[in-house]
Symmetry: C2
Subunit: 196 residues, 2 copies
Amino acid sequence: MRKDHETRKTEIIQSALDLAAQVGVSAVTTQSIADRVGIAQPTIFRHFKTREAIFHAAIEFVASALFKALEPVLAKTGPADKQLRKLFSVHLKFISKRHGVPRLLFSDRLHVEDPRLRETVQNIFARYIGVVSSILKRGAQQGVFRTDIDPDETAKFIAATMQGLFLQWSVSDFNFSLQEQEEKLWNYVWAATGHR
Amino acid sequence: MRKDHETRKTEIIQSALDLAAQVGVSAVTTQSIADRVGIAQPTIFRHFKTREAIFHAAIEFVASALFKALEPVLAKTGPADKQLRKLFSVHLKFISKRHGVPRLLFSDRLHVEDPRLRETVQNIFARYIGVVSSILKRGAQQGVFRTDIDPDETAKFIAATMQGLFLQWSVSDFNFSLQEQEEKLWNYVWAATGHR
DNA sequence: AACCTATGTAAGTGATTACTTACTTACATA
DNA sequence: TATGTAAGTAAGTAATCACTTACATAGGTT
């Protein structure tokens, strides 16, 4: 049953995320992770120095997976509005499969208990906003997006609408499909940012 | 030092909210509340049956205060777009003075640990959306808002943009002023919902 | 003055937690 | 085949938590 350090690490991260989805971040104890992985609780500390470190690794794991999923969208060179629309679609699909992400996003651990984690998430937000902003800039040149607004501010606004949707989704206990909201949300965003 | 039941209750609620703002919901222990109020820890249980009940009371206290603050805005009869703009302003000012609110909104307690609390917040969201929706309907009749969109869905979208802003605000550790974002946010919302 | 009720407290209790220590064992490599 | 390293564990430990019990007292009512 003995496994490689890296293998165990990802098993622990995955289990922590699954557990966060099911019981919430604060109930993700080292014991519950260990049970789910199928190892003893002290073994967790062979692979992570502290419980905190597990959540850091989990956030970075998720962010990395998200940007990897967005890569094919960003490589496209067609109309920027179609590209942003596709980014919406991929992002929503990604989150809809990972309930642990909103649980982490709306946790005490992120917001107050772990300032370093907060900084990491701020950086991820900034990176996401940069991605959206560059699409908006390209779209402004193409004449499909408005030219009278700051792309960075607009990207922040777009990120906020999605994050707000995730909040409502989590508070509803994931009781509606994100994808079914995609079209509606896009219509508002398009109305606010599209060239007339 | 002996005080009225109702007086102590509100003291406990206020202290819980202040603590939530400073140290996060999960660190709001009955001991820390008691210390802040200036009573012994078991005395908390003279006024609230469980710790859970304190958060329920806090949420209802805040919601009641918010809708009371919005009342004068809702009473107005002028142009609906000006009314919605004013609602934005009052809402943002209200939240900016109460850091405990986003802490509660982005807590494990709300999202997973207490399903009843989640339901309560869902109802508050629904009430807020109803308020915004009725302004949008009035504005559609006045010809200032779009008539080709569902007011309820639009209200949900508007709520999401504000909630997303609150998320970014909390993750930044309240490091920017909500009011300075008001104008920008309004411009996007107005572009998405105003009649052309 | 007697009494009652509600607010108050000191001193627990049992459950849970992240993390440690001391020891074991699987396994790649020399 | 011998050996070092790293993955594994059982059994703690000290701290923290919500909540309870048993008792004290303030202050309004009679």
